[in-house]
Symmetry: C2
Subunit: 422 residues, 2 copies
């Protein structure tokens, strides 16, 4: 008997018929002797509907008071889901009880609309599990110290599920989703993309942060911090699939590096097409310049991704970074107004049509020359590299957007990702 956490996305909860199927699947696991905690998302479309209503009324300004109310409203989507799933499980003859985040409670900070989980009290849930009940907990939300409802931001239900699994010391957290696992790259770009049976936590973290939409990055961070075994698997298999087969399906995110030792150097190719590049050329090469440039950007709540500053010469240096394409114009305007006047003759340039392509692999740590193989493959395709950044287990390049598919396919081939590991 194990303690298992299931997480179901909005598509799986999209209708009463689908909720019934989720209930049958959960009941199958419970009847197999497992203690079950389930974290479902809101029914698909519901969060957008609720926030759409709020948007029709909102004054545009983004005050904490407004965001508090957005959380009050948006959190109801998951509350409906947990109640419906509990009823569906009861209809299957199971004992089931649902809890909103505040009832568990799941304590968060007070950053409305993007709160972070601080602690989870598992007493109530454990008591129900021991009484033989399936416990269903709202994803996406919690309660702050002052008793206000908070939400964790879009996709936060993944994080809730992993956090609950961590708090309960669950044996495994299964994330049911509309893909059947983590792939070497997006199969829509590369037909030969292959599902990975396992991926290391560090690789998954890079894949998530580099644009793979399979898991919310914070859920992967949580899994890493608390070493929660995490499995991504398909919600589209029939609910009555053999449980032993189901338990091995999808992709397991693992902490056992040994398993990877003999595997490929590069595990996957990630990419992000919605980026824009901004450069300040000839800024004074002196302490504080990075903060002087990025301070106003951060204050305007613009997320910066890649940041590059190369060595300077003649007392000047070039400074570049990337932002989401939607923030490009705002960023350019901001720099023009607030930074350029004080930046000693620096010139501003930018390009909203770039993309980022990354190779990710824990094997890169111990294999030299991986980055140069990447650059060579891109060069062979005549693709100019505009920016490069690296970390221990990934190398990212910024290139012209129009070469994205070409680059991903070339790299997938170069690193033999279409071949199963030896």
């Amino acid at each position: 008997m194990a303690l298992i956490v299931h997480k179901y996305g909005g598509t799986s909860m999209g209708s009463t018929e689908r909720i019934r199927n989720v209930a049958k699947r959960v009941a199958k696991w419970a009847r197999a002797g497992h203690q079950m905690v389930v974290v479902p998302s809101a029914m698909s479309g519901e969060t957008n509907r609720l926030l759409g209503l709020a948007k029709e009324l909102s004054p545009g300004a983004t005050t904490p008071e407004l965001q508090r109310e957005l959380d009050m409203i948006a959190s109801t989507g998951e509350q409906v889901s947990v109640g419906l799933l509990a009823i569906a499980l009861q209809a299957e003859g199971m004992q089931a009880v649902s809890y909103a985040g505040w009832q568990v409670p799941i304590l968060t900070d007070d950053s409305y609309t993007k709160a972070r989980i601080q602690s989870i009290d598992d007493k109530r849930v454990r008591c129900d599990l021991e009484a033989g009940k399936v416990v269903i907990i709202t994803g996406f939300q919690g309660i702050d110290d002052n008793g206000h409802i908070t939400t964790l931001g879009r996709g936060g239900s993944d994080t809730s599920a992993v956090a609950v699994a961590a708090a309960m010391k669950a044996d495994e957290c299964l994330i049911y989703t509309d893909v059947d696992g983590v792939y070497t790259t997006d199969p829509r770009i590369v037909a030969e993309a292959r599902r990975l049976h396992t991926i290391s936590f560090e690789e998954m973290l890079e894949m998530a942060s580099l644009g793979s939409k399979v898991l919310q990055i914070r859920s992967v961070e949580f899994a890493g911090k608390y070493r929660v075994p995490l499995r991504v698997l398909s919600s589209f298999t029939p609910w009555d699939i053999d449980i032993a087969e189901e338990a091995k399906s999808g992709t397991l995110i693992t902490f056992e590096e040994d398993e990877k030792m003999e595997q490929a150097v590069v595990s996957g190719i990630a990419f992000n097409r919605d980026e824009a590049k901004v450069s300040l050329l000839g800024v004074p090469d002196k302490p504080g310049i990075a903060y002087q440039i990025l301070g106003p950007v951060a204050e305007a709540n613009i997320d910066v991704d890649v940041i590059i500053q190369n060595v300077g010469h003649d007392g000047k240096t070039d400074f570049s970074f990337t932002v989401h394409r939607n923030d490009y114009q705002r960023t350019m305007d901001l720099l023009k107004a607030e930074v350029i006047p004080k930046a000693g003759g620096a010139q501003l340039s930018g390009d909203p049509k770039i993309c980022k392509v990354s190779i990710v692999g824990i094997g890169m740590r111990s294999h030299v020359g991986v980055a140069s193989r990447m650059f060579s493959a891109l060069s062979d395709e005549g693709i100019n590299i505009q920016m490069i950044t690296t970390s221990e287990i990934k190398t990212s390049v910024v290139i012209d957007e129009k070469y994205m598919e070409l680059a991903v396919r070339a790299l997938h081939r170069t690193f033999d990702l279409d071949q199963p590991p030896a």
Copy 2:
């Protein structure tokens, strides 16, 4: 400056456009210097939509576990409403904050789907009011001792509003609704029906229990118990109507009997067409017989309205009561199976096509002959009275359903209700 509670129904909250109008109206009251607490219902149709989803999944059985989940689901409708109204008020430049019942908290018993309010802690709300905020509280719901969400039953938002007004010692509780006050009778039946400027609490209680749909009866009971001045008024007046005029509109439910001294003996005519009559003729006239008959009915959760037992003779008596028409067949079957075999040769008869018509008036206390004027008026119209019950301030008769409109019109005329009070 006064402390005012506003309650808005689902129709008033039916769209973002209407919510914006509610916000403008509340803002007008707040800007006039009043401390404002607002209790809105769920957007019209929302509670039905949510319970409809639950019904698609529910096993039919009505267990406390199922009802707990129904409350979890249904309570979200009001939570969305309060958040949207808070945002609309903020857009009007007001400070506003919303609370779910559990956040106030509004403590109830644990009778899911029909809980009763036990206490309201007003500290948090008072603190916000003193900080100059409009406070918006979910209607229809609370929290039990074990931290489970409860709901108060359909129409419970009226009760929430009055209970909050009582707890806060509000100066007045204004119930905005789709009628512009309490009428001498239903204007759809009697064209001459007249709006009452005031009605006593006791009369309102009788009117509510006798089928007037203006206010939920429990809200009137609450108002009476805590002497909350209650006003029923129209939500269809323009939001920018002069506040002094608005404050005098509708019908005030009052505790000052003096105001009524010179007024009409009868204040209104109530009626209820969805009733059915059940009689047991020739039951043994001995102690315990009423319980023997009604015990099984109560256990089957069938609500009984009028109960009549006249003096017996020859050791036998006749026992009659009325139930909602939907419960008629179930009641007859139950009596046939469980009561008749033990009732010493009693005969069962019933009629699902009856109605109840009542005259209500605090003046009846001190005026003899009111009931006989009622009977005489009905007799003049050739209407046979099947059952009679009276209380201190009302007289009800059960008659054939087909005479209902005729009876209501005749009584409205007989007691001069089409004339304004002297």
